[in-house]
């Protein structure tokens, strides 16, 4: 009973500090819950939907085949394959209100009876029954088209099926969930159309002959035999050896690679949020440690008295543990509960970028038990360690107040300068209570570290996404031009020069090759020195090749090893001269020189894309517009960007805002907690200063100056840490998305913004916290 009474009294006495700890745990666990929920639920949902929708272990996109069925049957006959399912489609470029897509779209014939896809309601808030059929002129698109091209229901999409203006225009009837190509991270996009339109397009393509722009093709979903223990890459190798798939495949991806593409954003979001949660946990420990220490100091005499009434040191420690655990468990439970609606918000917000609605539920029990259990166990150990001194309390010594204070016997005598009296006194108070302020300093270090890290990532990305594009593109350029009709590339160049000089140019082709039997895209370039080389050297010789580190790891080869490369006209041995960076296709690609490729591949003018560097890059839009107006469907132009890039930049900006808001919330709680304890500890000194003629305002200013003085060096340390640790930490996360050349650099956003924000927030919140000085009469301040 006595134990309960004291606990209740302690809870009441320290309610401010305990509420602060509750809030910190609430924020941290809400963020942890969201990270786990998004990460786990998105992963399991994508995998279950890919399986439910009947996509194979391998999917091959083929075109140019007179009869797809015979290839399907040929593949089915391989013992390692159990079955092959076919989805008919047409590859075609498309435009939405003058916006031309960078990648081809796939017009897929919709069969209601297959029940492959789920359809969203018009407001994207839920699902609706799949349509029995897609009507003529109507089309269903992925919600990611909203962020990529600003599409909404009722908008028109134009597909150039053949030259001479034989376009097919569709009206968006609704949105469907495409677990295969729905994410904005994937350039190729699937569009569901009805059988009537599909047959009409086939008729136009067939009657247009060489003037056809759309190509008929199919998706072959290849299912491995259950008895087969081959990996997807090995299965691909076996199929290539026994069938003609490699000669007609546009690209082949495994189920796991597709799931990886679909989950890039969710995984990146989850990793960054988990990193932030880790930082927040450190902040919680700092604040909790400070709170426990000052709480013990405040209760020291009471503890001595309780000991005289029969409480043991263990009892007192258990009381401390109980009071903090009540607050911690409350914060954790409410935080976990809040993660549910927050996950719903995240799921809704990301629907138009990921293309899927991540199911909203609490993280899986196993994950929750693991992560939240670890947090809880760590908190218990931490509290036990921090409250150990209460076991040593000697009753009479405590009652006499002989110990338990902050031991300010040794004081740093900083100068008192008359002209800078407030600053001098702030510095003296700060140096006298170093330990009290150390927590705030550490919090500043951690918060600036994480915000600066995100700032550096944002700087790497750049305002136009250059960092990301450099990571995905094999070589830099301003615009790429590919001619298809009778017009020559020289005419196009002449037109470009009317707007801007061309400072440099080179050619790039992206044919498919098989490296040691596995299909990859080859980046074939006329100037191999333009490749972004990470290790070794570029492929200058015609018997050399460069690989991404992912391909090198998949093939188990390193620099100096030989690989067999097969193209559409033969094969040959090539030496791996270096490792290069290109995140295209999650890094599933290789780089070759033109001379090297032509030993095994056929040359054709349409194969090559001319990449130009412009003297005046501000003319880029004008150049593109002029070329499109002049050559229409006979030209394909692309920039050093892709439609989903701006979605990523927006997501990055949104993440930064979320982090800054959470940072501000944390600083507010930390300042309020430490500030109120400091004010309580220093109220006698404050009263004396008031009696000497200091005004409330000057005392508040002096108090907030101390936080500024502690936050500023903390911020600078955080900044230095971010400078050294951002690249290794973020590189590890970026490798999940196939990006291996992350190298950040400082910018205004990554240097000044976090330091200024954190310092000013600490200063401002300290000034607000010290507002209570105004309400208190000097006599009350100095009475003891």
């Amino acid at each position: 009973m006595g134990y309960k009474t004291v606990l209740k009294a302690n809870l009441k006495r320290h309610r401010g500090a305990l509420f602060g700890v509750w809030i910190l745990l609430f924020f941290t666990c809400a963020a942890l819950g969201v990270a786990l929920s998004v990460w786990a639920n998105a992963g399991s949902y994508i995998n279950s939907e890919i399986e439910r929708a009947g996509f194979g272990d391998l999917t091959a996109w083929v075109s140019g085949l007179p009869d797809t069925n015979s290839l399907s049957e040929e593949i089915s006959r391989i013992p390692e394959v159990s079955q092959v399912e076919t989805q008919e489609l047409f590859f075609s470029d498309y435009t939405v209100e003058e916006q031309e897509s960078d990648s081809e779209g796939q017009l897929i014939r919709y069969h209601a009876e297959e029940n492959r896809y789920r359809f969203f309601s018009e407001d994207l808030q839920g699902y609706e029954e799949p349509p029995a059929a897609v009507f003529a002129g109507e089309i269903y698109v992925s919600p990611s088209m909203v962020s990529m091209m600003g599409l909404s229901v009722g908008d028109e999409i134009r597909f150039p099926i053949a030259r001479a203006g034989r376009d097919k225009v569709f009206t968006v009837a609704g949105f469907y969930e495409d677990p295969f190509m729905g994410s904005f991270m994937i350039g190729m996009k699937g569009f569901l159309i009805g059988g009537e339109d599909f047959l009409e397009i086939r008729q136009v393509v067939q009657s247009s002959g060489i003037d056809a722009l759309a190509r008929e093709g199919a998706m072959l979903h290849i299912f491995a035999a259950r008895s087969n223990a081959l990996s997807a890459a090995e299965l691909n190798q076996v199929i290539n050896e026994h069938t003609a798939l490699s000669s007609c495949a546009e690209f082949i991806h495994s189920e796991s690679a597709i799931a990886g593409f679909m989950l890039i954003l969710q995984n990146a979001f989850g990793v960054l949020l988990l990193a932030f949660v880790l930082v927040l946990l450190f902040v919680v420990m700092i604040v909790l440690g400070y709170s426990i220490r000052t709480g013990i100091e405040t209760d020291y005499v009471n503890m001595g008295i309780l000991k005289t009434t029969g409480f043991t040191g263990g009892d007192l420690q258990r009381l401390q543990l109980a009071q903090y655990l009540i607050s911690i468990v409350g914060g954790m439970i409410f935080g976990l509960g809040a993660s549910l609606p927050l996950s719903r918000v995240v799921s809704s917000m990301t629907l138009t970028t990921t293309g899927i609605r991540v199911p909203v539920s609490l993280p899986p029990p196993g994950w929750s038990a693991l992560f939240f259990g670890a947090v809880f166990a760590w908190m218990i150990l931490f509290i036990l360690a921090k409250t150990r001194p209460v076991q040593e309390i000697a009753p009479m010594k405590a009652i006499r107040g002989e110990a338990g204070g902050d031991g300010t016997g040794k004081i740093q005598r900083t100068p008192i300068v008359p002209g800078y009296l407030h600053l001098s006194i702030a510095l003296r108070q700060l140096m006298s209570g170093k330990r009290r302020y150390a927590g705030a300093c550490m919090v500043a270090v951690l918060l600036v570290f994480i915000t600066s890290m995100i700032g550096r990532m944002d700087n790497w990305l750049g305002p136009d996404g250059k960092g990301m594009m450099d990571a995905f593109n094999p070589a830099d350029h301003d615009i790429g031009v590919q001619m298809f009709g009778e017009s020559s590339i020289e005419e196009a160049e002449e037109m470009i020069r009317r707007y801007s000089g061309i400072t440099d140019d080179y050619l790039l082709a992206m044919p498919n090759v098989a490296v040691d039997g596995m299909d990859y895209t080859a980046n074939v370039i006329t100037e191999p020195e333009r490749f972004h080389i990470l290790e070794g050297r570029t492929c200058l010789g015609e018997d050399e090749i460069v690989l991404t580190e992912f391909v090198a790891a998949n093939l188990g080869v390193q620099i100096g090893d030989s690989v067999t490369v097969t193209g559409d006209s033969g094969s040959g041995e090539y030496i791996v001269s270096g490792i290069y960076s290109c995140a295209n296709g999650m890094g599933d690609n290789a780089g070759m020189s033109r001379e090297g490729y032509l030993k095994i591949g056929q040359d054709a003018p349409q194969l090559w894309c001319h990449h130009y560097f412009l003297e005046d890059t501000t003319q880029k839009a004008a150049v593109i517009s002029a070329l499109e107006d002049t050559y229409g469907g006979d030209i394909h132009i692309h920039e050093n960007t892709w439609p989903g890039l701006f979605g990523i930049i927006s997501a990055m900006r949104a993440l930064m805002i979320v982090l800054y808001v959470m940072t501000a919330g944390f600083i507010l709680v930390v300042t309020a907690l430490t500030g109120s304890r400091l004010l309580a500890a220093e109220q006698r000194d404050m009263g004396i200063y008031k009696a000497l003629g200091f005004t409330n305002r000057s005392l508040r200013l002096s108090f907030s100056l101390r936080f500024a003085m502690i936050a500023l060096p903390g911020s600078v340390i955080g900044l230095i840490l971010a400078a050294f640790l951002t690249d290794p930490i973020v590189s590890a996360a970026m490798k999940l998305a196939g990006i291996s050349n992350f190298a950040s650099s400082p910018s205004m956003v990554s240097v000044l913004l976090p330091v200024l924000t954190v310092t000013l927030l600490f200063t401002g919140f300290a000034f607000l916290t010290a507002g209570r000085l105004k309400k208190t009469d000097v006599t009350i301040l100095i009475s003891e």
Binding site: I416, L421, A691, G693, T695, V778
Partner: protein, 253 residues
């Protein structure tokens, strides 16, 4: 005719306490004269310290008016009150109340800097002189926690003196000191008074009260009576103490 330094008219002070509002000061009318060593006496809970802090403007009043050299103290802005505390008033408390992380010298000098009436150099010089006058020059570089209670209180008096205040408020300045330290502090205050310093001191100790030339007796928040004495002389101390005791007895204290 003595010059009125501080004048309180109908001063009332009450505190909100569990719904009730007990009145600590009940329409107190008082005048404090320049050059006087005025003592406020009374039993515990009579409202002595409350009256002292109300008269100094450190504590708010519920009703009434306080004029310092004709200025209405309770209607001054926070900044004006702070300036008055820095330049016109000096405070000596029962607990020494020196800033714990400043040395004795710094405690005195900071109060001097706040007056803004002299340059830093002069303030430092005056602080050194005052600490010497209070016999604590050897401890000037020590922190309050490193000196005796008497030394700390003498430094507190030096701090109160640094701005040449018009009036020193002393709240039981010897209450926490032993006999010899108390004696020394009272001697210092007497010496200051001899030199023309106006002092208003609260005490319940007749031995301390003998230093004053005017004694106000407070009971239940009201001034019941006052006693005027000639200037203090050491040799008259015993006789003054007896006189005060008789006077207090007549007031049933």
């Amino acid at each position: 005719m003595k010059e009125i330094l501080l004048k309180g008219t109908n001063i009332c002070k009450s505190f909100q306490e569990n719904g009730a509002e007990p009145r600590i000061l009940q329409s107190v009318n008082v005048e404090i004269y320049k050059g006087d060593f005025t003592i406020i006496m009374g039993a515990s809970g009579a409202g002595k310290s409350t009256l002292l802090y109300a008269l100094s403007g450190m504590d708010s009043i519920t009703d009434g008016e306080i004029l310092y050299k004709g200025q209405p103290l309770n209607r001054l802005s926070e900044n004006r009150k702070a300036a008055l505390r820095a330049r016109e008033f000096g405070f000596v408390f029962q607990q020494t109340h020196l800033v714990s992380n400043l040395t004795l010298f710094e405690n005195v000098a900071v109060a001097g800097y706040m007056t803004k009436t002299a340059g830093p150099k002069e303030v430092r010089q005056r602080a050194r002189e005052l600490l010497k006058l209070m016999h604590v020059e050897n401890a000037k570089d020590r922190l309050p926690s490193q000196v005796s209670g008497g030394e700390a209180q003498r430094a507190a008096i030096a701090r109160a003196m640094i701005g040449d205040p018009g009036l020193i408020f002393a709240d039981e300045p010897t209450g926490a000191l032993n006999k010899s330290n108390s004696e020394e502090v009272l001697n210092l205050l007497s010496r200051l008074h001899e030199n023309g310093q106006s002092i208003l001191m609260v005490t319940h100790d007749a031995k301390a009260a003998v230093r004053g030339n005017r004694i106000l007796y407070l009971e239940d928040g009201q001034i019941l009576d006052e006693l005027t004495l000639p200037a203090f002389r050491e040799e008259d101390a015993r006789a003054r103490e007896d006189k005060i005791s008789v006077w207090l007895s007549s007031l049933q204290w």
